[in-house]
Every structure is written in structure tokens, then in C-alpha cells.
């Protein structure tokens, strides 16, 4: 079983990487795009005997402790079976 933690910069926090990507896309001809934001995806194998809920709360605990910096980032957790 896997949990996937998606980490994104909070809204309002400047994302220069997203900006640079948006600029590059525009140069490539993808015009008319709005804001581009970049985040991180972390997939973690968790013990198979965990229930969905247990896996989700494990993912949340790991995100809070290490994977996301809550000063600047938000996260979501998905459980993949």
C-alpha cells in the first residue's frame, strides 16, 4: 500500500519556479496560460496491513513532521492501494 503526499506552496507565497515554467511554456507557444505553480509529490510505501484510514493519518503525520513546511506549504494525502 502506498500513500502519496502532495506538497504545494501556500497561496500567496511567491513561486519563482512556477513563474519560470509559465514563461517557458509561453515561449513554446502555449499562450494565454494563467498562473503556474509547482509542487512536490512524495510516494511512500506503508505496511500493507494498515487500513485506509490508518495509512491516511500516517501520511498526514509524516507530512506535518517532515515532508511539508507548514510555514510556506500546504499538503494533501492520498492513499493508493
Amino acid at each position: 500500500m502506498k500513500v502519496r503526499v502532495n506538497v504545494m506552496l501556500k497561496e500567496g507565497v511567491l513561486d519563482p519556479q512556477g513563474k519560470a515554467i509559465g514563461h517557458a511554456l509561453d515561449v513554446l507557444g502555449f499562450h494565454g496560460l494563467g498562473e503556474v505553480r509547482m509542487g512536490k509529490v512524495i510516494e511512500i510505501e506503508v505496511p500493507a496491513q494498515k487500513s485506509q484510514d490508518e495509512a491516511a493519518s500516517l501520511g498526514e503525520a509524516m507530512a506535518r513532521e517532515l515532508l511539508a513546511n507548514l510555514v510556506i506549504e500546504d499538503f494533501t494525502v492520498e492513499v493508493l492501494s
Binding site: 507565497v13 511567491l14 519563482p16 519560470a20 512536490k40 513546511n69
Partner: protein, 233 residues
């Protein structure tokens, strides 16, 4: 002044820091390994610059969870003095020993250049060697130095006089929106901050790299002199 310098895998400025401490305090600092689980008796712990754990995940995120950080936290909570420079500042924010976070430079560029810092507080052990408003030169070399914090945190830092250093022009002018004066885009041009008790200090530039007259300038000496005066008295 007994100082200890913490080494993480990827730390690379420990020798510069050791040289500065040696030169100004006359004592040899001890080197500590990030996996140590006890600190010797110390007056000051320094987290030096570098790229601990290759900056994986976020700069300083891994280092903040190294075993020695439990000891550093206990040392700080007992009133100990902790200085974090560059990656050390990033580690201190990740460990929540200092508020805020250091994001990618607004320009997206790694900046290796000199900058000028304006002293905003001259009552902490780290800043008492200067007068308020003094400007000094310091080298900087970082990719993630863009200081960010929530508005209420910034208000508190400003209101409590905990902004230690701000990026400035040589004449002391500060302009947070001018990339020439605020090279990494930090909020309110903040380059260094202090903890509530004034005993933890983090800053991105490297005062330890300008302490030896043989290298052309001694702009960084007041930081170390102030520490020695505070901690030896």
C-alpha cells in the same frame, strides 16, 4: 568563549567559521558531528553554511531532524546561544528555533556576491559590536535565502526589534523591492533575525568570511567580538 560547530553531511563552511572564532576569541572551537547525542559544555553552538543533505526536500529540512538537533534545542531552551549562518539559518527555521522560512531566491539564481547589511538592533550579543544603523559588507552565497514569514510574524519581529540585519546599500538605504538592494527578494529585506530572548541568531550572509585583515577587510569582526564580550563576561 567555548564554541562548538556542528557538521552535517554536506556542510562546507565549518573551517571558515572555525577560523573566525579562533581569530577573535583566541580559542579553538570544537567540531561536533550531526549524529552526536550529547553536547560538551559550551557557550555557543554554531550551525555553519553549506548544503546539508544536499538540500534534499527543502534546504535545512533534513538537518533539522538530525540527532544533535535535539541537544541543540535543549541547549537553546536552557538559554544557550546558537548562531546559524546560511544553511545554518535554514536549519534553525526548519527546526522552528527561529520563525519563518527561506525560499528560493526571487531571481531563481544562486547568488554568490558581496552584499551590505544594515544593523537594525544593537542590543543582542550578535549585534552589540555595532551601532544601530551601521552598515557592513558581507559575502553571500546561497540559492534559498528569500526570507518569508506570515504578516503577524513579521509584525512581531519588527515590533520586538528582532530583525538583526537588513540588506542595504553601502550608504544604508533599504529598498525591499529593488533587486539591487534586496538581492534574494526577502520580505522587508530581512537578512538576519533573532529569537525572542535574543540568544539565537540566524542570517544568510557570511560575516565569518570577512574577519582577517589579510583578506582585505574585517567587516565581520564585530559579530564575533560582541559574542565574546557577552559570553566571557
Amino acid at each position: 568563549m567555548k564554541a562548538g560547530i556542528v557538521l552535517f553531511p554536506g556542510t562546507n563552511r565549518e573551517r571558515d567559521m572555525a577560523q573566525a572564532l579562533r581569530l577573535v576569541s583566541g580559542r579553538e572551537p570544537v567540531m561536533l558531528w550531526h549524529r552526536d547525542t550529547a553536547l560538551p559544555s559550551l557557550d555557543l553552538v554554531v550551525l555553519p553554511g553549506g548544503f546539508s543533505f544536499g538540500d534534499y526536500l527543502r534546504s535545512g529540512a533534513m538537518g533539522a531532524h538530525s540527532p544533535i538537533m535535539r541537544e541543540v534545542r535543549a541547549f537553546a531552551e536552557a538559554g544557550g546561544h546558537v548562531l546559524g549562518v546560511c544553511n545554518g539559518f535554514q536549519i534553525l527555521t526548519e527546526a522552528q528555533l527561529l520563525p519563518g522560512a527561506l525560499l528560493r531566491n526571487a531571481s531563481m539564481r544562486f547568488l554568490s556576491q558581496d552584499c551590505h547589511l544594515k544593523v537594525e538592533n544593537n542590543i543582542s550579543p550578535y549585534t552589540r559590536g555595532w551601532s544601530k544603523g551601521d552598515v557592513f559588507r558581507a559575502p553571500m552565497a546561497h540559492g534559498d535565502g528569500n526570507y518569508n514569514a506570515a504578516p503577524d510574524v513579521l509584525d512581531r519581529l519588527e515590533g520586538e526589534g528582532r530583525v538583526a540585519f537588513r540588506y542595504a546599500e553601502a550608504n544604508g538605504a533599504v529598498d525591499a523591492v529593488d533587486p539591487a538592494l534586496n538581492p534574494n527578494g526577502s520580505m522587508q529585506a530581512i537578512a538576519g533575525i533573532l529569537s525572542e530572548n535574543g540568544r539565537i541568531c540566524g542570517l544568510m550572509p557570511h560575516p565569518e568570511n570577512l574577519v582577517d585583515p589579510d583578506l582585505g577587510a574585517t567587516d565581520g569582526v564585530p559579530l564575533f567580538k560582541g559574542l565574546v564580550e557577552s559570553l566571557v563576561a
